[in-house]
Amino acid sequence: MTVEKIVMPQLGESVIEGTISTWLVEIGDKVEKYQPIAEVMTDKVNTEIPAYHTGEITAFHAEEGETVAVGEAIYSIEVDGKGTKEQQNVEANSKQEDQKETIDSQSMKTRYSPAVMRLAQEHQINLSEVNGSGRGGRITRKDIEKLISEESQKPKDELLTTPASENKSTNTEQKKKAFTQSLPGDREIPVTGIRKAVATNMVRATTEIPHAWMMIEVDVTNLVNYRNAEKDHFKNNEGYNLSYFAFFLNAVAKALKKFPQLNSSWAGNKIIQHKEINLSIAVGNEQELFVPVLRNVDEKSIKGIAKEVHILANKARNGNLTQEDMSGGTFTVNNTGTFGSVQSMGVINYPQAAILQVESIVKRPVIINDMFAARDMVNLCLSLDHRILDGVICGKFMSHVKEILENISGDTTPIY
C-alpha cells in the first residue's frame, strides 16, 4: 500500500494551469481507475479528471475554486502495489552519473583559449606561473582578467622593480616601457646595428658559456727594445704606428697554429675546429666597443697586421664598421692594456672558445739569476669556454705565447 500524490494534468496544448470547479469525490471514498475525480476549468476547456489508480482518496491539496499549476499536486490516493518510486530511482541515478562526468583530471593546465593567449601576450603574463580555476586546472579568461586588474592597482614603482621574468620574454614592449622612464636631461642614444650585435652576443656568452680564467706573466723587455728601435722609422715609412698589439697578434696566431683546439667554436652537439685563424680584436671609440676581425693573421707580417689594425680602428672611430667586418672571427684578442689595466676577465666572444686579454706593459723589478733587474712585464689573461677547453691545453698554449713573446727580435720576428 502506498500513497500517491496526483498532480494537475496537462489539459490542452497551451494550458499551464487549471481551476478545480468541483470535487466529484470525498476524502475516504474508494475510487475505481478512470472514475471522474474532479471537474477542472481552464480558459480553453472544461473537463473531468479521471482517477489514475484504484484506491482510497486520502487528501485534497486544492479547494474548489482554487487555480493550480500543471504539475502541482491536487489530491492523494492510497493505492495497492508499486507506485512511481521507480521513476524517482531513475532520476536519482541519472543525477549521480552527471556528477561523475564533472570529475576531471589536471589535463587542461596548459590548454589555452584564444582569449587567454591574447591577454597573456598583451599584458606580458607568463602563463606557466598562473593558477587556473577552470576545469582540469585550465586558466580561464576570468583568471587572467583578475590578474590584470590586480596588477594595474599596484603602484607604478612596484611595477618597475617587479622582475616578472622579463629577460626571458621575447616581447620588447614592456622593456621599452621600463627604460623610457628617463630622468630630466638624460640623453638617449639609439642602439645601432653593431651595438645591438655586441650586446646580444655578450648576454648570450655570459649566460651560456661556463667561463674559466687564467693569467700568465710575460717578460717583454726584448719586444719593447725591438719595437722602440723600429717605431720612428716605421712611422715615417708607413704613416701609421708600429703598435705592440701587432706583435701580440702575431704571437697568438702562431700559438693557435700549434694549438688549434683554442681556435674553435661551440656548435651545440659538436665543436668546430677552424682552419683559418681570424682574430677578433676589440676596438673602442668614445661611446662604443667594436669587435672587428683580422683574417688569416697567421699569413701576415707584422707590418700587414699593424696596417689592418690601423684601418679597422679608423673605421670603428668613424662608425663605419660593417657586419662583414665583424663576422668570421675564430679567436679574440683584447688590448685592455691601452687603458692601463694590468688584469681583467674577458667575456668570450660567442661562439668562440677563448679570449685573450693583453694587459699594460709595466716596468717592474724582477729577479733574474738571483739579481734584481728592471724588466718590461705584461700580464696575459685568458678566459676559456670550459665545455671546449681544459686547463692543460690552455696552459700549454699560454706558455707557447709567452715563449714566442720573450724571444722576439729582429731575427725571429721580422717586421716586413
Partner: protein, 327 residues
C-alpha cells in the same frame, strides 16, 4: 500597467492596431466567431466585425496569398496560421512572392503583411502541433522573423510588425501563451524589429537564445546565481536578420557562449549565430561555443517521456550553463 499573459498581450496588440488603423485586418482559420483555437483573436470579431476578422477556408496558401494581395494594395493584413506546422503549404507564397516583392518590382510594390503562427512543443501536441519551423525561412532576404520571449516584447513587436512596410513572420510559442505573465505598459509601446535584448546582465557566461527558451534560461540563471555563477542572457527577439552587433558584444563580454534553441540542432539558426561569433570574436573566446537544441529526429514525439527528452528545459540548460562556467 496591467499583468498580461503572453496571449493577452497578442490580443491587445491586435485590438490596438485595428483600432488605430482601419487598414489592419485579421484573417485565418477560426479567428472570427471562435476567436482562434488559442483564443488569440478573442473578442475581435465582436469589436471589429466580420469584414475585418475573416474566417478562411482550411487553405494556408490562400490565407497567405489573399493577405499578400491585400497588402500589395495597401492593406495591413495579419494572417494567422493555426499552427506553425501548417504554414508549409503557404511557403511558396511567402518566399517566392512576399519576400521578393519589393526587390522584383524595384520598390514599386511592397508587401506589408504580418503572418502569425504558434510554434513549439512541450504541450503534448505531437508531430503536427509542435514544430519549430523558423529555420525554413531564415535565409530568405526580404523576410523578417520575429520570435518574442515575453508578453511585453510580444505586444511591442507585434505592433511593430504590423506597421512594418515589409513581410514579417511572427512566431509565438504556444506554451508561452498562458505560462508567461508580466506587467505590460498600457501605452502604445513599439519595440524595434531587428534588435536583440539583454534580458540579464552577467559576467561569467553568455547565453544567447530566443523564444520560450529565454524563460528557461532566466530560471536556470537565477538558480545558478545562488552558486555564484553570473549569466549574461541575450534574447535575439528577431532571428532573421540577426542583430550581429548585439551577438558580438554579448559573446565578447564573457568569452563563454551557450546557444539554445528548441529547433532541431543541425541547420538551426544557432549555427549562424555561432558563425558570427567565430568570425568576429575568436580572440575573446574562452571556451568552445556550446549548443543546446532538439535532437535531429523528424518530429516531436507524443509519448510524454520522449517529448520530455526532446524538449529543452530548465534543468538541461542549468547543467550546460554550470558546465560552461566551470570550464
Amino acid at each position: 500597467m496591467a499583468v498580461l499573459s503572453y496571449i493577452q498581450a497578442i490580443t491587445k496588440a491586435l485590438a490596438e492596431e485595428m483600432k488605430r488603423d482601419e487598414k489592419v485586418f485579421v484573417l485565418g482559420e477560426d479567428v472570427g466567431v471562435r476567436g482562434g483555437v488559442f483564443r488569440a483573436t478573442n473578442g475581435l470579431y465582436e469589436q471589429f466585425g466580420e469584414e475585418r476578422v475573416i474566417d478562411t477556408p482550411l487553405a494556408e496558401s490562400a490565407i497567405a496569398g489573399v493577405g499578400i494581395g491585400a497588402a500589395m494594395y495597401g492593406m495591413r493584413p495579419v494572417a494567422e496560421m493555426q499552427f506553425a506546422d501548417f504554414i508549409l503549404p503557404a511557403v511558396n507564397q511567402i518566399i517566392s512572392e512576399a519576400a521578393k516583392m519589393r526587390y522584383r518590382s524595384n520598390n514599386d510594390w511592397t508587401c506589408p503583411i504580418t503572418i502569425r503562427a504558434p510554434y513549439g512543443g512541450g504541450v503534448h501536441g505531437a508531430l503536427y502541433h509542435s514544430q519549430s519551423i523558423e529555420a525554413v525561412f531564415a535565409n530568405q532576404p526580404g523576410l523578417k522573423i520575429v520570435m518574442p520571449a515575453t508578453p511585453r516584447d510580444a505586444k511591442g513587436l507585434l505592433k511593430s510588425a504590423i506597421r512594418d512596410p515589409d513581410p514579417v513572420l511572427f512566431f509565438e510559442h504556444k506554451r508561452a501563451y498562458r505560462m508567461l505573465k508580466e506587467e505590460v505598459p498600457e501605452t502604445d509601446e513599439l519595440i524595434p524589429i531587428g534588435e536583440a535584448d539583454v534580458k540579464r546582465e552577467g559576467s561569467d557566461i553568455t547565453v544567447i537564445t530566443y523564444g520560450l527558451c529565454v524563460h528557461f534560461a532566466l530560471e536556470a540563471a537565477n538558480n545558478l546565481a545562488e552558486e555564484g555563477i553570473d549569466a549574461h542572457i541575450l534574447d535575439l527577439r528577431t532571428i532573421y536578420p540577426l542583430d550581429q552587433d548585439a551577438i558580438i558584444k554579448a559573446a565578447s563580454k564573457t568569452g563563454k557562449v551557450l546557444l539554445i534553441t528548441e529547433d532541431n540542432k543541425e541547420g538551426s539558426i544557432l549555427g549562424e549565430v555561432a558563425a558570427i561569433i567565430s568570425e568576429h570574436c575568436l580572440f575573446d573566446l574562452d571556451a568552445p561555443i556550446q549548443r543546446i537544441a532538439g535532437p535531429d529526429v523528424p518530429a516531436m514525439p507524443y509519448a510524454p517521456p520522449l517529448e520530455k527528452e526532446f524538449m529543452v528545459n530548465k534543468d538541461k540548460i542549468e547543467q550546460a550553463m554550470r558546465s560552461l562556467a566551470e570550464f
